[in-house]
């Protein structure tokens, strides 16, 4: 009985209205990946430590693996799938990660990209220390983070150039 219980959930995902039924205990990550097929967001540790599951809820970068789905009711969620612009171009953050090779196996990358997107919204020209402080909740097990920090710097420069 209890396991078949469903609750209604309505929120905005990457600009589109979503209406779905979820298990009350489902996490936002489960709904994104399993219900809505938005598998860009990854589950790493599942305990809020690694940041692979980072998404933006009402503009704030949070760990979707610990975010109860029902708490997204009425909110606006942005995932890595929503970063391309209307003509399908990658965002400046995505382009910078590609250009600088700020990625190896790629598993942490969606989380890094989302955390960076939020960081640059709060602070458009962060120092190296501010970049590292902004990304301390995102772990990469492949690299030494150097190219990731380079990518964030490049993204900040690109964004400054493209700003109208």
């Amino acid at each position: 009985m209890r396991s078949t219980m469903r609750a209604e959930l309505r929120f905005t995902l990457n600009g589109a209205a979503v209406e779905t039924m979820v298990r009350p205990q489902a996490r936002l990550l489960d709904v994104l990946r399993d219900t809505l097929g938005a598998t860009g967001t990854k589950e790493g540790c599942g305990e809020g430590e690694c940041g692979a599951c980072t998404v933006l809820v009402d503009g704030r970068a949070v760990a979707s693996c610990l975010f109860p789905a029902l708490e997204a009711e009425g909110k606006t969620v942005l995932t890595v799938e929503g970063l391309r612009n209307a003509s399908g171009e990658l965002s400046v953050v995505q382009r910078a990660f590609v250009d600088k090779g700020g990625t190896q196996c790629g598993f942490c990358t969606p989380g890094m990209v989302m955390a960076t997107t939020a960081l640059l919204q709060e602070n458009p020209s962060p120092s190296d220390d501010e970049i590292r402080a902004g990304l301390v909740g995102n772990l990469c097990r492949c690299t030494g983070y150097v190219q990731i920090v380079d990518a964030v710097k490049q993204a900040a420069e690109l964004a400054a150039k493209e700003r109208p």
């Binding site: 996490r27 809020g48 704030r60 610990l66």
Partner: protein, 328 residues
């Protein structure tokens, strides 16, 4: 991959509705605020609630208010909000710095001050999957009768691991608990119990709604130091907070205050500053404080790392906390 067992969710919009739900469901209900402590614990099978009362939508529990002698901090105020709040910068800067050292940025945007104060105690033998715990025959805190930390231990020694509790206890803060039949205020010193199985006085049906922090005088200096492997994410291996009343020309004379050490056992430990009261806060006085704290602190194998090293680090952390208080 660990999964969550099914539970029902209620999302009250007022404190009255929330405490009515908690009263009606008693031990079968758990409160959900930011979820950053509850969800991992649910995955590990540490609680099996039938009902989760999500208080995120409860009005009036968010924000910091200047209430004259004290700052009133709503229980749902996030740790990220506290980190940068202008009222904290002015009247309780140590709390802002302690909040900034909890977990990482994502979790501080989700985690709340009420949640951090009610953080479940932690232990190497408790914060594990049900499968792992079963293999050891469970433990005193959950489902078993044996303590794996203290031979023949009869009382759970799981460690208070909340950064803000250490600081708020040093600042002499109190919390407001609401139940269906009334409200009570409890100083943090009386809020924490020396039992890791249940280390707060929060009763079934009660909800922590607010923290009241006495505003600092111009003489008060606040410092916080945290021992951990990584400069983010980790829970404290040792947590030291100091509120120091210092008057006169530098180094100044100590006129009051309190030192608190945590991440030892279930309750943060108070260390009186009486030994240095009336004395100049010079290197000798700081060293003496470190020695006093070292004598009182007995880290155990309840959390990671060598307890002897953690004990040796007590005076170091005391020095760092005092430096943080004087130079921040």
């Amino acid at each position: 991959m660990l999964r969550l067992d099914p539970f029902k969710v209620e999302r009250p919009t007022t404190v009255d509705e929330a405490v009515a739900l908690l009263a009606a469901h008693g031990a079968k209900a758990r409160v959900l605020a930011g979820g950053t402590d509850l969800l991992p614990n649910l995955k590990h099978g540490l609680h099996q609630p039938e009902l989760v009362v999500s208080i995120g939508g409860v009005a009036g529990l968010r924000g910091v208010k200047d209430a004259g002698e004290v700052l009133e901090i709503g229980a749902l105020t996030t740790l990220a909000e506290l980190e940068r709040h202008p009222l904290l910068a002015q009247f309780a800067p140590g709390l802002a710095r302690a909040a900034a050292q909890v977990a990482g940025p994502q979790l501080r945007r989700m985690g709340t001050i009420g949640g951090n104060l009610c953080l479940d105690t932690r232990c190497l033998y408790y914060n594990q999957s049900a499968f792992w715990r079963e293999a050891l025959g469970y433990c005193l805190k959950k489902d078993g009768s044996v303590c794996h930390v203290v031979a023949d231990g009869k009382k759970c020694v799981a460690a208070a691991s909340n950064d803000t509790a250490t600081m708020l206890m040093a600042l002499g803060a109190e919390v407001e608990l609401r139940a269906r039949d009334g409200t009570r205020r409890v100083p943090l010193d009386a809020f924490y119990l020396p039992d890791g199985a249940k280390n707060t006085v929060v009763d079934e049906g009660e909800l922590l709604v607010c923290v009241r922090v006495p505003k600092g005088s111009p003489a008060r200096r606040e410092g916080y130091a945290k021992l951990r492997h990584r400069n983010s994410i980790d829970f404290p291996l040792l947590s030291v907070a100091v509120a120091l009343d210092v008057e006169g020309v530098a180094p100044g004379t100590v006129t009051g205050g309190l030192l608190v050490v945590s991440a030892l056992q279930a309750r943060p430990l108070r260390v009186s500053l009486d030994a240095v009261r009336g004395r100049a806060l010079d290197d000798g006085a700081i060293e003496e404080l470190g020695r006093l704290a070292h004598g009182r602190c007995h880290p155990m194998t309840n959390i990671a790392d060598d307890p002897a090293w953690r004990r040796d680090m007590v005076p170091v952390l005391v020095r760092r906390a005092v430096a943080d208080a004087l130079h921040a």
